[in-house]
């Protein structure tokens, strides 16, 4: 293994280690949640007609009568072995259910991110090259208008357009990718489009400003002096130095995509994490809520660590520490 590779791995491990307190803090608070329930937690979950036996059974299974720290140790002991408890009603292992749902959410989030980048980056390069022109101004206004559209508005407007008026796409439902890839694509189209409205505008805005700053640098002027064509300069000289900023934005946009998944999944009845958490909230399925919190926070810690290291991989001048 080469020396720089080893230092990258070390830096990655340090960043993940720094994220562990964050994960512990959030999951502990999630355990303490049931103490906020009015009266006894088991009673609140089962409703007012619960028998004492049912309450005792629930307490034995989930430990709601124990103090929060004991419950937390129990949960942590299971969690490190991959056991996140069982769901409240169907009694399936939480980890198993969650992994299947997470795959759906990530398929949609990834597709939305790739689609947005594929549209926004070339457009941003083209507009940065003609900054200040009318068409650049028009795209900037369009981008700030699109940034003002919340997901719960885009789902309503786009489904009105594409599924109710034009009848091109199914309004709800889900077909897994490996069952029927083509049907999967038809069902994924609307959720992905809805998430992309905001993402395209966001990536365009950041990338355009970043490219614009890069284009003012001396090495661009010298590339022009050498007689390279504008497209060549844009793709070969301007793109690379702007990537670290775009990478950060990709990491941050994951927060948006996961947040948007609640709306998109509940609106289009897609069985992903967002849909699961809404169902869990209605059922008071605290084991599921806690596992989702844990998963989300762990993902963010890993993503932000990757983003940090991505800088160093893109720009070798940056020192990895």
């Amino acid at each position: 293994m080469t020396a720089p590779m080893r230092s990258y791995l070390r830096a990655f491990a340090i960043r993940i280690a720094a994220g562990i307190p964050v994960v512990l803090l959030v999951t502990f608070l999630a355990t303490a949640l049931s103490d906020l329930m009015p009266g006894s937690a088991a009673q609140a979950i089962l409703g007012e007609f619960a028998t004492p036996e049912q309450i005792a059974q629930l307490n034995a299974a989930y430990g709601y009568d124990l103090p929060a720290w004991q419950r937390y140790l129990r949960w942590l002991g299971g969690a490190v072995q991959g056991d996140f408890g069982v769901t409240l009603y169907s009694q399936q292992p939480v980890a198993e259910v969650l992994l299947a749902r997470a795959a759906v959410t990530f398929e949609i989030a990834l597709a939305a991110m790739l689609l947005s980048l594929a549209i926004a980056i070339p457009l941003a390069l083209a507009m940065a090259a003609r900054a200040g022109s009318r068409i650049d101004g028009a795209f900037r206004i369009a981008a700030s208008a699109m940034l003002a559209v919340p997901t719960f508005v885009s789902v309503v407007v786009l489904s009105l357009l594409f599924s109710i008026t034009l009848r091109w796409l199914p309004a709800t439902g889900w077909v897994p990718l490996f069952e029927d890839p083509l049907e999967n694509l038809r069902h994924i189209a609307l959720p992905v489009l809805c998430l992309s409205v905001h993402q395209v505008a966001y990536f365009f805005r950041v990338a355009r400003n970043e490219f614009l700053a890069t284009l003012q640098q001396d090495f661009i002027a010298s590339a022009r002096a050498k007689g390279f064509s504008t497209p060549y300069i844009l793709w070969r000289h301007a793109l690379m130095p702007s990537l670290p900023q775009i990478l950060t934005v990709m990491g941050l946009s994951l927060t948006y995509l996961l947040g948007g998944s609640f709306i998109v999944e509940s609106f289009f009845a897609v069985p992903g994490i967002g849909w699961t958490v809404l169902a869990a909230v209605q059922d008071h399925d605290l084991a599921m809520v806690q596992a989702i919190l844990c998963l989300t926070v762990a993902i963010f810690v890993i993503v932000f660590a990757c983003v940090d290291l991505g800088y160093a991989l893109i720009d070798p001048r940056l020192e990895v520490r």
Binding site: L147, V149, F152, L160, L258, G259, F262
Partner: protein, 290 residues
């Protein structure tokens, strides 16, 4: 220049000079003023009906009367009236949450930036934790145990943004701390409290004002999302997200009735973002002159 000879709060305020605004920026600021005025004065607008009582036909299309401008909902209530009263509820939540997060963030950020060391690391941990939590998920988790509540939502929204304000304040304090005016005050024997509150804090005002409107826009979107999902402002009270969710059920028959609340929320978020850009441009001008 006068601003350089003033000190403390008067200098901070005197430096808030405004660049020329474009048409869209002027429109945005005007829209926000109008929205706040409508929300505050809703009870005294002549002819505006009560948002919670039926006023006309069920799901009547928009017409040119005041109350019928956006049509009526499935219970015959005026959508315009509900949009205006919905603005009041949303603005109260957003302003209270911002007050909480700004106070908390300023205090934590100033401590972290001024004392550094252990205090900084603790605040960083808290800020990083809050940054990785999607607010909708956290509020849903809380709602799963406490039930839907405007107070819980406002408090949580306020607490979750403390991290952002703390990080910005910390950065500001660290960058101002070594400037000549702070060193001069210290040389003259000013105490920590005086330096923080009379010297540094006023100079953070321009930076902080520029970040407030976009963060408020984020709060409006989060509140709207929760109300849309049915976990935000409880049902009979008017809320933009709840109104959009309600008219979605009837959208194939009455598509026009959805545009009132959509227009309100999109314009508000746009106006807040644009105002934020405008204020940020003002800081750029100031920094360029230094």
């Amino acid at each position: 220049m006068t601003a350089e000879t003033l000190s403390g709060w008067r200098a901070g305020i005197a430096r808030m000079r405004f660049p020329r605004s474009s048409f869209l920026e002027a429109f945005s600021i005007g829209f926000l003023i109008l929205l706040v005025a409508l929300a505050v004065l809703a009870d005294w607008i002549p002819g505006l009906v009560n948002p919670n009582f039926p006023y006309g036909d069920f799901s009547a299309p928009p017409d040119l009367t005041l109350n019928g401008l956006f049509g009526t909902d499935a219970l015959g209530r005026s959508i315009l009236s509900r949009v205006i009263y919905g603005a009041r509820q949303t603005l109260v939540i957003v302003i209270l949450a911002t007050a909480i997060s700004m106070t908390g963030g300023l205090i934590l950020g100033m401590i972290a930036g001024y004392c550094r060391g252990m205090a900084e690391r603790t605040v960083d941990l808290l800020a990083n934790t809050m940054a990785v939590l999607p607010p909708v998920l956290i509020i849903l988790a809380l709602v799963s145990v406490t039930g839907t509540s405007v107070v819980t939502m406002t408090l949580t929204l306020g607490i979750l943004d403390i991290g952002t304000y703390a990080r910005l304040t910390k950065g500001g304090v660290i960058s101002q701390n070594q400037r000549d005016y702070v060193l001069a005050a210290r040389a003259l024997g000013a105490g920590h409290g005086r330096i923080l509150f009379r010297e540094i804090l006023p100079n953070l005002v321009p930076t902080m004002t520029a970040v407030v409107p976009p963060l408020m826009a984020g709060l409006i979107i989060t509140e709207g999302s929760l109300s849309f999902l049915g976990f935000g402002i409880p049902a009979p009270a008017p809320s933009w997200g709840g109104m959009i969710a309600a008219s979605t059920d009837l959208i194939s028959r009455f598509p026009l009735l959805i545009f009132g609340p959509i227009l309100a929320i999109v314009l508000t978020v746009y106006a807040l973002n644009t105002t934020g850009d405008f204020l940020a441009r003002r800081i750029d001008i100031r920094e360029r002159q230094i």
